[in-house]
Symmetry: C2
Subunit: 433 residues, 2 copies
Amino acid sequence: MPHRLTTEDPDFESRFAALLTMKREDSPDVDDTVAAIIAYVRKRGDAALIELTAKFDRLELTADTLAFSDDEIDEHVARVPEDERAALELAAARIRAYHERQMPEDAQWTDEAGATLGWRWGPVDAAGLYVPGGLASYPSSVLMNAIPAKVAGVERLVVTAPTPDGKANPLVLLAARIAGVDQVLKIGGAQAIAALAYGTETVAPVDKITGPGNAYVAAAKRRVFGRVGIDMIAGPSEILVIADKDNDPDWIALDLLSQAEHDESAQSILVTTSAPLADAVAQAVEDRLLTLERRAIAAASWREYGAIIVVRDLGEAAALADQIAAEHLELCVAEPHSLAANIRHAGAMFLGKWTPEAIGDYIGGPNHVLPTARSARFSSGLSVMDFLKRTTLAHMSPAALKAIGPGAETLARSESLEAHGLSVRARLDRLNE
Amino acid sequence: MPHRLTTEDPDFESRFAALLTMKREDSPDVDDTVAAIIAYVRKRGDAALIELTAKFDRLELTADTLAFSDDEIDEHVARVPEDERAALELAAARIRAYHERQMPEDAQWTDEAGATLGWRWGPVDAAGLYVPGGLASYPSSVLMNAIPAKVAGVERLVVTAPTPDGKANPLVLLAARIAGVDQVLKIGGAQAIAALAYGTETVAPVDKITGPGNAYVAAAKRRVFGRVGIDMIAGPSEILVIADKDNDPDWIALDLLSQAEHDESAQSILVTTSAPLADAVAQAVEDRLLTLERRAIAAASWREYGAIIVVRDLGEAAALADQIAAEHLELCVAEPHSLAANIRHAGAMFLGKWTPEAIGDYIGGPNHVLPTARSARFSSGLSVMDFLKRTTLAHMSPAALKAIGPGAETLARSESLEAHGLSVRARLDRLNE
């Protein structure tokens, strides 16, 4: 059974705190293994990739076949049914349109002291996108990672898509092609991350690595961080649905289950002002679990981590939402915009009853790579900003230096950094000659 | 002697590559010690902070004296000379004005399908700023970290300023006051990071931790990352100066030395089109090193890691600059703006001969917390963005769901995520009733 709470429970605070801090994921310590794999790839390059791919993915490669050829991709994508191709193209167009609006602007101005200041944004030169193999090989994730990179202006975009036993996912290859990916490598695991970060004879190194992966991939990303940029390390997925009494219990049940079916560690929480709706949703979930294809996974997630919380009013709901800081937040209430205005922390909000979270996973436009495990308190979903960096600009006229230089000299001296002060003083003296 | 290269050297490429990859910092493995300290603070709270501060900083505290009182701060800041106070206030005003322009805008629009999309920025609730004790206790860094946080709208800002032997830095306390810091704690090291991340009886936990520190602080920040947000882990400072022949060698020498005097691991590089200027700067550095207060540090940095590279033209200089991706880049050339336009990677650019890098350290306006160790290829200096996070918004009208829902359903089915598809289908069926 899922956890069932009401804010009227005398022990609500402690039960809610326990719910928030439940450990939902084993983090196996694979750090030594990963360190060894990275060192091996750095030392032996392509040979290491070939050897490890044969070992872990039962796939024999050569330096010439590490990447999918255009012909191979053509052959795979030709097998994609037309409706799936059309859906992927619609999704790509909508994701592109949304992310194009995120492009930040450069700025430059001259202030009253005569200093010209500003900044300039520019893309990273090259990015690598890790796509998991097997069950969690999602074409939608290819779009969500690759399109922001391309919108940002990244020139070279490489996907690593492990291909165990040689089985490629045609939709992943099609998504890569639609998104403008330049190269798709048939490698995975920590070895793929090492190749992207350090390069090999065949794989040119990138500057930024994004994309989800298993414990080995996550550990490898942490380890190469600094050498290259990485995106967040994502935890299991979460949804919080806030619902008033006027909802179809089956819709809410399906929204909760669409997180639960991802992963046994996923967490789905319903917060509602209506005890009858709470009961009806609980029943609807059970009904759907009888037939759902992924019912084993969804049921495990729901019974272990699922929760239904009855609150007195939407003010209480908003306060709980800020404590949960959910990755996905659905507002199935009559006035979703005003409720949204009262909530500070969430990765993505889905407003109103006609906006199931699944729309955001695929086709809404906003990114589906979002902060998990309460990190929406301090971080954001993936965006074009992740593939851009900013250079600040400062230009002093002689008059500007004369106006503000003495202050810099004073502070340099107060910090006992004499050369800092002298570098300003030498120029000021020239102006006073 | 510093490294001396010209692009005409037959072995230039390999010598330049060696210069780029020189290891400039020992990273002692303090991870186990740090893990133990964090666990101890989590378990024992204030008592652990008090015990560890007595042990490492020889300072006896109680729960009541962990933070500086207003009276203590008054007393310290009263001792700050008037010119230093005025300089700090000028710096704060300029840094604030620059960072206020960085505030990103919210967005919301309705697209042709009838979907209302957008995003909303909001500040983290609370931030912690680590200020090192001892020699590297810089009031300018307090301003550079605290002001962006306050501009972002962070409600609660805590500084940890270790106070070994009870010796506080009055300028650090004044900078904290000017910047609007809410609380200054007399603790440091990994225990301070643990307290900020997890909280104790006296220290409320924060959501984001920024600020420089030693190996213990850096390891602790890495370890609490995920629980809270952190800024970058900064390496030793660097400057690249690109100079044409029309420069005063002494000015350039002082600019190079103002990085070298920070730290024996700092790196100063001059790239110039003029061999005579190269010689003159080399001599000017030696002359200045005779009398500089921090000559031992500056000389060690310059002789070990310093470099002078003569290039054929500014095009070559720009190409090298992109490979170096320097934290600080000074363009001491006749047309600095056009050279800047040809360079993609740098943390901060200082344009023209009247803009010594030290202006940027203190008073220019842009942030002085900048990406080191070539990470300007993929990351940016500190900004208000580091204290903000974005929530994406999506609202579907029934018509919008009808228009794009089927695509989501198709993609969900292609990824074998049935509940995702059903959550859309259930709503579409209602629309078709």
